[in-house]
Amino acid sequence: MTAPTASAPAPTASQPDSMTRTLVLDGVSKQFATGTVALTDVDLHLRSGDFVTVVGPSGCGKSTLLRLASGLDDVTEGTVEVNAHATSYVFQEATLLEWRTAAKNVELADELRGLPTSQRRSRAQEVLDLVGLTGFEKQFPRQLSGGMRMRVSIARALVTDPDLALFDEPFGALDEITRLRMQTELQRIFQLKKFAGLFITHSVSEAVYLSTRVIVMSGRPGQVVADIPIPWDYPRPPELRYSSEFAALTGEVSTALGEHS
């Protein structure tokens, strides 16, 4: 892979998942037209079953990393390789189309691909049930709470059954209680769907609680300064957050953050 490819077709379907890297970033750097260097020499490998969170100070290029992985932006140097039949992206805000009901928002991707109506209805219903929005299909976004809007947004990302799911700080705008609940929900969904997840966050405890690996980035220009594996199996009970092992790991992540920001 010499040329940066945003997304590749999926020859992977027949191969066993463990052999395939869903996302490979090799020596990726990004410099914007303004001259700002957002990322330097980032290597990142993700397989299905990996849930990697990225923490780092503001402006360290965490979101840029996602934009490069999704193909929304092009790299300046290095390569991005994606082996996924579908990639999904969950934005910071729910980013719902206000004129569409919850179900119609979830159907968007299938609609744009030209799937027949009956098929996309049942697919949307499936993921709406999965995120706990049964009965809210016909509600318009303005009628939903912040947490529920984010659920719709996650359902919309899951409807294409992605192998690679990118999350750009999706719970940052939610209140603490909703946020903790959404973390549990996301974990359950991840356990069920087994995609490769790349999750950006500001919250160290969110990172440790959710992921199989925490990647710590330095301040601008962003560089990977620590790659900390998280050992626990899923599902992780919410009480895990109050255990001493949890505290030890969040301490390790915070220390890595503190040394490099």
């Binding site: 999704s70 193909g71 929304l72 990639t87 999904s88 992206y89 934005f91 910071q92 805000e93 980013t95 189309l97 206000e98 004129w99 968007l108 991707a109 609609e111 744009l112 691909r113 049930d129 999965l130 995120v131 706990g132 929005l133 049964t134 009965g135 809210f136 509600q139 318009f140 303005r142 009628q143 939903l144 709470s145 529920m148 659920r151 609940r181 549990t184 929900e185 359950r188």
Partner: protein
């Protein structure tokens, strides 16, 4: 566990019970009223008054049951409509009051013709078919000019804005024309339009379109550009075509602004129809032409009636689009303003 957990938690959140809750409060206030009236008239022995009435739901249900069998005061919807119309009716009454005041108290009798009292102005005209018939015909002509002009302005305005929003260079090239159109005083153009296009329906419609076009263009353009960067990313990630992006993102996002433009354009198209008519002084007479004629002849009764008719026309057009706006947009965004 979590899915059912979420389901049980949310209906209580904010909206699911919204209708039942408001219904209930409405009903309970109604039953309160019934109770009170019953108390006021002949309070049955043993039935507690509102103050000591226990708030148990069975009591509520029982009083509601009796309420449905006895006479229920006027339907709430009718009351709500009256409540909404009240300020407008009050304003009209205020205008009429001031009008009479000026007409009878301020103006000496020999100058009363300057502002004849409403019943005389409208009454004398309405009962005189020789004045009323041509006036209504003229109004009809002006209405059709305004409506044709509006439809063209809307179509051209939206089309022009869509074209501009398709690319940055398109906007840079096309926008100056729209601005020039807006900055040239229309009154300076009207005589020229008459000379070029004659004085018939076509020329009047052109005046109308020129006046109504700009708010359509600018509001639509603003609306088409209002979709968030993230929602554009969403469409990019899903490999949407340019047409899909227009019809499923930019256009629906623009609808609230388009309706704002429509309301402005509708008002301006009425003005456009009158202006063309007023200045042409040739060709088929519209209500604007009659305004001029009545002014010159100092036919005050007819003049006031014509002014009132144009006002009613303007209000009708505005209301039409306000209702349309609420029907289409209100569903998504709740009630605006």
């Amino acid at each position: 566990m979590t899915a059912t957990h979420a389901r049980t938690q949310h209906p209580s959140a904010e909206h699911a019970p919204a209708t039942p809750a408001s219904d209930q409060s409405q009903q309970s206030s109604e039953s309160d009223r019934l109770n009170q009236s019953r108390v006021g008239n002949d309070r049955p022995v043993g039935v507690p008054g509102p103050a000591t009435r226990p708030s148990a739901p069975e009591v509520e249900a029982r009083t509601l049951g009796t309420a449905s069998t006895t006479a229920v005061p006027g339907p709430p919807r009718w009351r709500a409509a009256l409540g909404k119309a009240a300020p407008i009716l009050l304003a009209l009454a205020g205008i009429a009051a001031i009008w009479y005041l000026v007409s009878y108290l301020l103006l000496p009798a020999e100058q009363r013709f300057l502002l004849p009292p409403p019943h005389e102005a409208f009454g004398n005209t309405a009962t005189n078919p020789a004045v009323m018939t041509p006036m209504l015909e003229a109004l009809g002509r002006s209405v059709s000019v305004a409506m044709i002009g509006l439809v063209i302005a809307v179509a051209v305005g939206i089309g022009y804005a869509v074209l501009m929003s398709s690319a940055g260079w398109a906007e840079r090239i096309l926008y100056p024309y729209a601005v020039i159109l807006q900055t040239i005083p229309i009154l300076a153009l009207v005589p020229l339009i008459g000379i070029w296009f004659g004085y018939g329906l076509g020329a009047r419609v052109i005046v109308c379109v020129i006046i109504a076009l700009f708010p359509m263009i600018s509001n639509t353009l603003f609306g088409l550009q209002s979709a968030s960067a993230a929602s554009h990313d969403l469409f990019t990630l899903n490999k949407a075509t340019a047409l899909q992006r227009l019809t499923k993102l930019k256009f629906p996002a623009a609808l609230p602004s388009i309706f704002t433009g429509l309301r402005n354009a509708a008002g301006l198209s009425v003005i456009g129809a009158l202006v063309g008519d007023y200045f042409f002084q040739q060709g088929p007479v519209g209500i604007g032409g009659l305004l001029r004629t009545y002014t010159l002849r100092i036919q005050m009764d007819a003049l006031f009636t014509a002014i009132a008719l144009t006002a009613v026309f303007g209000v009708a057009v505005f209301t039409l689009f306000a209702v349309l706006d609420r029907l289409v947009i209100g569903r998504w965004y709740g009630q605006r303003q």
